[in-house]
């Protein structure tokens, strides 16, 4: 059973109606619901990767304070599949970062305003293309 607060230890009655907060101006997103695990597309609509995590606040900070204004500074991509299953996190050097300023739209996918070729996160795609697929006859043939 995943960790949870036991019913007897719940601090508040579960069915109370809470007041609705004031609506802030600007687009409202929930990170897990709308940003994490979403497909990222580059400016031409070519897939880049799925968003694995987000960087918030100053780079390499370990704690944040509510008295500071904190922003999402970048999208993170990396080999998180194994660590999500077994715990822990890949070291920061293995996580590729895309600055938030490259994001042009957030919908069912996240669109960037730059070409995939300029992004580090696609290095493996380029490597496979150059070393393997590009070497097989017909690899660069346009199917249309």
């Amino acid at each position: 059973m995943s960790p949870r607060i036991r019913r007897s230890a719940r601090p508040f009655p579960p069915d109370e109606t809470l007041p609705e907060p004031a609506r802030p101006p600007g687009l409202v997103l929930d990170a897990q619901l709308h940003l994490l695990d979403r497909q990222t597309l580059d400016v031409d609509g070519v897939p880049v990767s799925t968003v694995d995590d987000l960087e918030i606040g100053p780079h390499e900070s370990t704690a944040l304070h509510g008295s500071d204004t904190v922003h999402v500074t970048g999208l993170l991509y990396g080999p998180v599949s194994v660590t999500r299953v077994f715990g822990g996190r890949p070291p920061a050097s293995r996580l590729h970062r895309v600055d938030w300023r490259h994001v042009t739209d957030v919908g069912t996918t996240i669109r960037l305003g730059v070409h995939g070729d300029s992004l580090d996160v696609l290095w493996l795609e380029r490597w496979v293309r150059d070393r393997v697929i590009g070497r097989i006859p017909g690899g660069r043939h346009d199917p249309r």
């Binding site: 995943s2 601090p11 997103l29 897990q32 304070h65 204004t69 904190v70 922003h71 998180v80």
Partner: protein
């Protein structure tokens, strides 16, 4: 800091009482505009008595179909609430501590589905 470290971390009130776990982070795009979109500002944290992050958000978005599933998932996360970022004292991978006098708000998102063109 990595946002994923905050997810599923425990939330305690100033007295040290366990309130739940962070299941999501509410962002508002009203920060400085560097590219095309404003930078998302951390507006609040969504706290729920359960972890295993409510991947479906039924308790927030008001989507009510399919009826039985929506009701079951909403029931599972009843007792979820939103706290504003200003009510947070410290947030780290070890957990989140709230300040004295924090307020709890309904976790609902405003017409989320219709906000986007």
């Amino acid at each position: 800091m990595i946002l994923g470290d905050l997810l599923d971390s425990p939330v305690v009130d100033p007295a040290g009482r366990a309130l739940g776990f962070v299941v999501d982070v509410r962002l508002v795009l009203d920060g400085p505009v560097e590219g095309l979109l404003a930078a998302p500002r951390v507006h609040g944290l969504l706290v729920s008595p359960r972890t295993r992050t409510s991947f479906l958000g039924y308790e927030r978005t008001g989507v009510r179909a399919p009826a039985l599933l929506a009701r079951y998932l909403r029931w599972r996360h009843r007792g979820s609430f939103l706290v504003h970022w200003t009510d947070v004292d410290v947030a780290s991978a070890e957990g989140v501590a709230l300040v004295e006098g924090y307020r709890r708000w309904s976790p609902a998102m405003f017409g989320a589905a219709h906000q986007r063109p």
